[in-house]
Symmetry: D3
Subunit: 340 residues, 6 copies
């Protein structure tokens, strides 16, 4: 069984019931999530050995986050205990023309205040086949930017492939600072994952076609972005998620994988959204699974998009689908007939 | 800050969980609502000083209604305490081809049995910039018809603009009686709000085009109705909400504002419905806000329709959206992308 | 009032809240259901005297099933008490591209282990106007296959019309065994109900057109299947439900009734699904009601399809709609406007 | 199986979750209850044929009340449909020193506005072995007072024993009026049930001992009250419930049955209260069951007190215990050990 | 109507359902609370004009706190908006031998990071009759210690009586620092409220008797503590709450009020606990109400203890009882009989 | 870290909300439990490495059981997947005089139908320091009786201490059969755990004193039972749990540990019960922890009784308390004061 290491923050996610707004809610639905934790959880459902590296407080609220990861099969033995607080984010589900809202209360979390030397990457990567993180981790603090840099360098030294989802969060840092930090990190990254905005916000790389055209023109724009990323930073592959937001209830969803001048597009899915938070992370997990399965690029992107399409029908951030379920959809069966 | 007075009944609204039918439900979701209370609550979210005039029992159930209004920022200092019961209405949410159902249990409520002299309109209107009520209030009882008449006359004397939503309820009175009473009230109303059926049911004024055509023809029909209302009663403007009910889950929604021979139509929105009760009231609130902001008619109707479009995505009757949210939608951003 | 007897298993149905997956759920929503119990419950809502024949344990869990039937007006005086367990099935609601899932835990139930001689069909059918069951009942055990055979023979002797929904469940028996047992039973059945797969799986009768074409061609295929069933087993009529599964959230739904060479198709409904389990049973109930009302075939199939269309908007298996509601939809009113 | 007829109002009971106060609650727990409906439901659990006579609106809310009765096995075929509203009462559960609160909203209910001639008592009592009602029914309206008088007279003519629980409600009528009306009814009552306050409030009959002493003195007071009732109205027996309210969480509970100069006291139970509403009704049901079982007075009062003791541990008004459970407690087993 | 100003932090309170432990919970029950907010809410239920001074973020989570205060009638016009986060605390309800647990996540809250000059005490106290705060406010930060000092000095200058509950929180500051800061503040405080531990932890003033004896000896110890506080700081009165913790489910509860050498003890209540958090604050509110009512010391302490006794039967921190309810208990009626 | 192996069944536990009876419940609270799974979960909270040996179906319902164990830190790598069903048991919480009820639906579960050879005990015990099971496991089936025999023999060969809780379940087997099977197993058991009834029901060994006396006499009875067990089967120690059931709400709870003629009694706790199912298992876990900590017998029994006392205040079967919490109570701190 392949062992994947992911590194980042896990937060408590608080969500009103159904479509209630924040100011209508008298209870929070509680789950635990974070970009890299989501990837680990999805990979665990795929039957992989996924270990999550982070730091959480030693009190019960920190334990809750660990327990949620354990429940879904993630190895939490690398999670450090200490610090004062677990980051929190509030999610208000949108519907129709009303957008979903996220309020973050993550400053001063245990992981943001952790010191780089608390993480012994040599030991952490022992036995690992893959390392994944997102641009959120270095954005948490200078300490975590340092830890991320050290992590990717150690991975490269140990010959462990690295994937990184740019995941730009403007509430955490400026595009300028992100560009500087991520620019030092990406040269150690094998597979870069981005969405339309990330590349522009962080590196000023733009999908020229997306504003001006449709169909082929637009597709060429994505390819151009991917090519620029690969060329500028020496990444082997770049994957781009393609979301067409019709409304908070309906989205188009697809993705592209680029390697050496060639671009592979997955079919598009029109999705009735149950919960779209974590969609990008489920794509990353699908892609990692594909890569570790040594599938070709077309099969890889098809699987990653199908897996993440299914995520949108699942509550909370973790993509709790099996390989078989994602493969069934990737094979074209989207009818949703009852399975008895 | 502008002060708006609304006058009417507030009821307890009881609703099964999710899409359960009345006869499946073992719990009621409780909220408090009523045409004019809804308008006050929406205006309070817009940052206005909205005061609600009504009468509720002095026991805890009456207090609950007051507390819900206070919670959402409505001034309840004008609510009289007394009487025996708070009116109730039951809402069963429809879906797909199954229509929503409303059962009223509002007879003998504190407000329906209140006496006109309990309301000192001179004092009530002190400092007010607007008065709003709907055709439901005079329909509650002859006493409340009298109170409504007195209210609009006093407002006219004090130079306070008045808006009235016809809101015909056939369970409360006959079209004939409604026509007679509302016919005496409308001459004191500056802005009349109606939907397609109201004008016909109450005054026998019909949207000729709506049965026979589409597009322009149909639009002309609405204009004709608005013109007839303005001319017959001397209202300055008439606004009409345009609902196209595809199913209990999907509606088209738009509106028109007519003034002096000119008609202004807002864009149409295709809505995935979360809860459509209170849609008309949120339109009225949007329109009042627009008028008090001295916006032109096109901007006014666009804002009112955008605000009320968003209402359909919100549980319960109160339209808990901000001016910024409605303006964003009115400006054309309906994509529902997550706001982080 | 017409008295209808239905015979089969009633199970506890356990369902996560909303769209949660099984592995996310910490509570089960509990209802009680089963093909023939569903038909009885629907007929009771139509105002018929519907009695359900089954066996449930004498402990409280068995009593819960009886109480749910009584609550919705089903006569439970023919339910035998005894045995050890009530069958269970778990339903996970799908959404968008994610299919719904059903896990059965029904083996060794009281009814599956009951002996044929526990049912005195002469007495059971006293005063009855109709008998209905599905292919699930004989599939439960050889004993229940025997009881089913005896039931239909007695009904035929007593001149009571019999309807049977093939309802093939591959988890309960093989197509081969189903074909053998049902082949002995169908000659005593007046109206056979099937969906596209049933006829093929049980009897090898195929809807040739369904794979190869659309529109008329496809419709001819259904007619051919119905004709083959009627001819092979001597059934008077055969009805077929037509489901077009776009996704777990959206389905097309229609049906056909065949008699003596003539086929009657109902209009198609595009449905936003709330809960589709029990859809076929609600169709059977609609058809039985139509037959007992002596309606012509076109009116019959229209009513049955409209009633079962509404079922898809209702939580749990029981189709809790009135005759008036189904007739309103059958008459073309599908707009879902609020009924006040 | 003995058939018991009870006659009165069934209301919707709305209750906050747990120990929340009315003004904290955003949902109501819904059940359906009423003095005589509670007695019918309890007797149905005892395996008796219990039929409830009342009138409820024909809309879904009325149907909900009927369905709850059917669910628990009460014969609802004698319930008339019509009128506008179902009475409502709100229950706030007290705890420790904080008392429980009940707010009634029952005026203008279907049964209160029903006409006496809607009830054909000859037919209603056909096949009946017992008739029970409480002082609440005649208190609802003059019409219902008339219907009650007619009912007891018809029962006497047909030789059907009658029990009546005085159940004085000062919100419904004055003690004076109650005394007058009940004074005309009691001569037709075989078994009168009262608590300490009722006899004093309605008839001015006082438990002299209860203020002035303890133990024997106090017991003699109760006996004196019972004797006075029997003598004044010619009742065969009088039963008195004895509640010692330590706090809203803890009560002492016992009862006495008096016949021909002899008084039989049941053991006292110290109760941790789950829900005490309906406690008196469960006592009445226990007593009726005892009488129909022809048990001696000591066994009767012991069973009635044990059954009603158990009621206090059960949510909602209906006493959902079996004869076996009440007998186990009456036999002295109060240890509450887990029954596996 | 008397106007009371309270000053402090309002936090989000998150609580598992029922008696679930933190690590079992998948939902949080949400309320909003804080020592001084609790006092304001209780005084508002008593019919006083209570205004709360604080700072909360301008996002929806901050708005939720404001809305909860408004719902229960607290004047929130003095609440400043800004800062990043609302403090949070988690409450796990204990039972029997298992203690309740509180985890704080309040660092870096808007109020803790506010600057003293944001509060214009002259304006804030305009029209006020009383000022109340607790030792928690100055413990939040040096800034808030400064603001508290300024507040009490301004109040003294303006002749507004000040009450302060010591409320020592060892997680916020050391006893030493608390002693220093509170030592500067108390000279401006008219009524000091403390419990057994506070006086010792903050000022080293001990209830000598509490370890060594019972009854009179122990009472003398409390009197000695109160006398020392009054003498050292010049407070007019000192009140002490007396909690006897039998278990997490059962507590004894009483209190003492000391003035000029005389001590007044309230009766003791044995309480079945529903929720004891906020008990001390409800005592403070009762005492303030008593003082503003100009009641004598015995009546004052009796009312304060009765009001706070009732708090223990109410969920969440706010003591939602009326003056009438507290007076009924203070008058000796603790039987908890149902109030119809 | 010490590794403990436990072996048995894990079931789904279904429970109505709060104190609702089975027949009132429309939702089940879901947890997963079983005598030996409970012990493993408790030991994991104590920080031990606890592994659970069992067999569950490979479908999602089986996975739910595994996930619940993982969530609370139990090693599930030894759980075999296969078979058809997960056993179920229903728990109805009693209160006051109403006893709790348990209904089992566990026949034909995956573990009951497993074959002994599926368990390779040599491998399972590799690295283990302790083996624990209860009399329920051999009672499940002859196969599991065989597996249990093999397990204890292998443990003895490998020098691993074995504890066994007699846990007689009369629904699973007769006392006679239990006596025979357990009589063959006990000689390989080091520590036998029993309650008052078990020893009598299984081996006919009686606590003579328990019926006839109190205090010392009664204690001597327990000692006599323990001595007989140790002597007859050669167990090193026997522990007995002592439950005094006052009512379903209040229990006395203590325990005794016997070794070589000496008996050690823990203090008694009077418990307000939240959930008493799993109480015995939490005692076993406490005892195993004590033994592995090499504590003396008095400290051992004190800890085991304190830990299991706390269990009664915790929902569900798993005893989610820490060593520190149990030690605090064992040290005499039972006041339940809030821990901030």
């Amino acid at each position: 069984m392949k062992r994947i290491i992911t590194f980042g923050e896990i937060m408590m996610r608080l969500c009103p019931e159904g479509y209630l707004r924040f100011i209508q809610s008298n209870t929070w639905d509680v789950s635990y999530a974070g970009g890299e934790a989501n990837v680990a959880a999805s990979l665990a459902q795929f039957g992989m050995e996924a270990a999550f590296v982070s730091k959480v407080p030693s009190h019960e609220i920190g334990q809750c986050a660990v327990n949620e990861l354990r429940r879904f099969g993630v190895d939490t033995s690398l999670v450090i205990r200490g610090g004062e607080r677990l980051g929190i984010y509030y999610v208000e589900k949108g519907a129709s023309q009303r957008a979903s809202k996220v309020i973050y209360d993550r400053a001063y979390s245990a992981i943001a205040l952790a010191r780089p030397e608390e993480f012994n990457w040599k030991e952490i990567f022992s036995g690992a086949s893959w390392f994944h993180f997102t641009g959120i981790t270095p954005a948490l603090s200078d300490n975590m930017a340092g830890a991320s840099r050290e992590a990717v360098k150690t991975a490269r030294e140990m010959g462990i492939p690295v994937s990184c989802d740019l995941n730009f969060r403007k509430k955490l840092w400026s595009g300028e600072k992100a560009g500087k930090v991520m620019g030092e990190i990406l040269p150690f990254v094998d597979i870069c994952i981005a969405n339309e905005e990330d590349a522009a916000d962080v590196f000023g790389i733009r999908t020229e076609g997306s504003d001006i055209g449709k169909g082929e023109l637009r597709r060429e724009g994505y390819v151009s972005v991917a090519r620029q990323i690969c060329e500028r930073f020496g990444c082997k592959k770049t994957a781009i998620t393609l979301r067409g937001s019709i409304s908070a209830s309906d989205n188009n969803w697809s993705g592209m994988l680029y390697e050496k001048g060639e671009a592979f597009f997955a079919p598009n899915y029109l999705i009735r959204i149950v919960d779209r938070v974590g969609g990008g992370d489920s794509f990353a997990a699908g892609l990692i699974y594909s890569q570790l399965s040594l599938w070709d690029n077309q099969k890889s992107i098809n699987f990653a998009v199908a897996a993440s399409c299914l995520k949108h029908s699942i509550e909370h951030d973790f993509n709790l689908v099996s390989v078989a379920e994602a493969e069934t959809l990737a094979a074209g069966n989207a009818s949703g007939r009852v399975q008895r």
